[in-house]
Symmetry: C2
Subunit: 380 residues, 2 copies
Amino acid sequence: MKFIITREQLVNSVQDVMKAVSTRTTIPILTGIKIEAHEDGVTLTGSDSDISIERFVPAEEDDHVNVTIEKPGSIVLQARFFSEIVKKLPDSKIEIEVYDRFSTHIRSGSSEFNLNGLDPQEYPRLPEVQENNRFSIQADLLKTLIRQTVFAVSVSETRPILTGVNWRIEDNELKCVATDSHRLASRSATVEASSEDMDFSEVVIPGKSLTELSKILDDSSELIDIILTESQVLFKAKNILFFSRLLDGNYPDTSKLIPNDSKTVMIVSTKEFLQAIDRASLLAKEGRNNVVKLSTMDQDQVEISSNSPEIGKVFDHVKTESLEGDELKISFSAKYMMDALKAMDCSEVQIQFTGAMRPFVLNPIEERSITQLILPVRTY
Amino acid sequence: MKFIITREQLVNSVQDVMKAVSTRTTIPILTGIKIEAHEDGVTLTGSDSDISIERFVPAEEDDHVNVTIEKPGSIVLQARFFSEIVKKLPDSKIEIEVYDRFSTHIRSGSSEFNLNGLDPQEYPRLPEVQENNRFSIQADLLKTLIRQTVFAVSVSETRPILTGVNWRIEDNELKCVATDSHRLASRSATVEASSEDMDFSEVVIPGKSLTELSKILDDSSELIDIILTESQVLFKAKNILFFSRLLDGNYPDTSKLIPNDSKTVMIVSTKEFLQAIDRASLLAKEGRNNVVKLSTMDQDQVEISSNSPEIGKVFDHVKTESLEGDELKISFSAKYMMDALKAMDCSEVQIQFTGAMRPFVLNPIEERSITQLILPVRTY
């Protein structure tokens, strides 16, 4: 194998596939990046066996030469060193050549590295994916869907299925739901289904996979193809394939968790409410589990309070745009509330309560595509 | 005590004194910040007993009211909470009032914190400093002196005196020297001595104190007064007093370490040389103690090389501006070399070697106010 590639293309591509490489893998070859040079360009692959990322650098693109292939072939190089080395090479062109026994020479300007490579035949093959179940979504919308739900997945392995986000497709509507059983985030959006007959309609994608995917995607209107199989999901962007395994098991039915009625409804400025919770949280973090208390007051305002016997107390008042229904005193996790408010992307938020012991619901005003649900904390 | 202060002034001042507050102190009152309101302003103090920082906020400054004192007094508040709280308060004005039993109310806009304060009488007094030994130096030059020497102090407590920087004053010349016994950094500068008779001419200031001082000072031409006593040094800037204890003991005589003659002299671009060492260091870090090798070559260039049996080898070539004297192969710590080169602030560096086993010296060309010395590593 021998090729010359522009440093910028190589650095960016290595950075993308590195997102799948774990240093804690039990499979030694997966500490490497697989590099394949073929006639039409160079393909890099990184994998931790849960996530696999394949990045293609076309030989020519927009009348610009990225890669000159002198001899096709392939090699696996230690990801950690290779990624550090390419970043620091002095010239804008990098030559990579494999000699006998996987010995690999990397030349750039006055610098030459000679790395011990690994046998590319030992590198696992990427899953083959049947394209029966396929739909498309814009990259920027996909990133938003992920950001608005993935924070609510469980970080505990007690119920592994809850560490993923449930994706359900029905009538060209994608609904994403995440819950750790103390709070729930839900977001739906219209997608373009390309397949005529979807074999099945529901998968659970590991939260970690979605977080890594989100880092690779640009905030662009590029259409991302999403292909579902029974055990894998594949996201196809321009020059990138992102594979993730799916979680096994049945996702709990969350549709009944969201209350239909409400007893107290308030509308507040998202920013002012978030800042008041944030201040109350300064003392709450020291006390019991970061719990703050909300009390409705006369005169269209609510009080946010918290106390830590050793440090002191805090009282904050937030003016409401509207406040209707029963009086209420309710306690909840400041962290969950802040996570939910940050995910809302709206200047005013409507919160519907059904008493101090029942879950409550956050929505943008007159907008149901995004819903955040939080369970209160009993404090007495 | 009761006063109203602008949030900006309070946040900045708290940030300054926090640099002296340690969470790992064995003296509980030192986890707090002392706040004193008197007629002409507010004074904040933080200390870890090695470093003490006093920050004054004048009631009025440049026709601008910073503080309105309603009742003088003092209190000590938990530094960690107080600093977080003031940053997040909603209004541009903050009112602080102490009630009975050190209970302290902090009000700003719709927000009210009620913190349990500590008895200000228990807070240790700052050292009283006699101003016999005093000189002045511009803040930006002081920061440069610190940056160019402090990285070379020892991080090991085996010889505590080496964890400090030696400051020696003679004939209005300040010479700063730091060494960890493997390398040495030295920088001198002209200062304005204000005292007629300096009682003594040499102190050793803990490296950590100088690092913290450097963070507080602006890059300005403001004159900083420096006052030496037997056990303390005091840096006086506008509205800030920075006290540090001095290290006990005799600093080793380093003047004889620097070789007078040289056998090989090279001049190279600081940046190109630094980048080549940085690349070689990528593999050297994996091998023996981050050691790289420099070899003189024909044709006015040197080779930097390194190898790690498991990962591979690297060879880098750096063109020299000039290369005179004996051939040379020498090994040294890539980290020490990079530290020294980064401290030089010059586009070209002159390196004088006296054989593979002798310390070598880095200087800017024809400039002796800054000298870096590195001991080589024996590799065979």
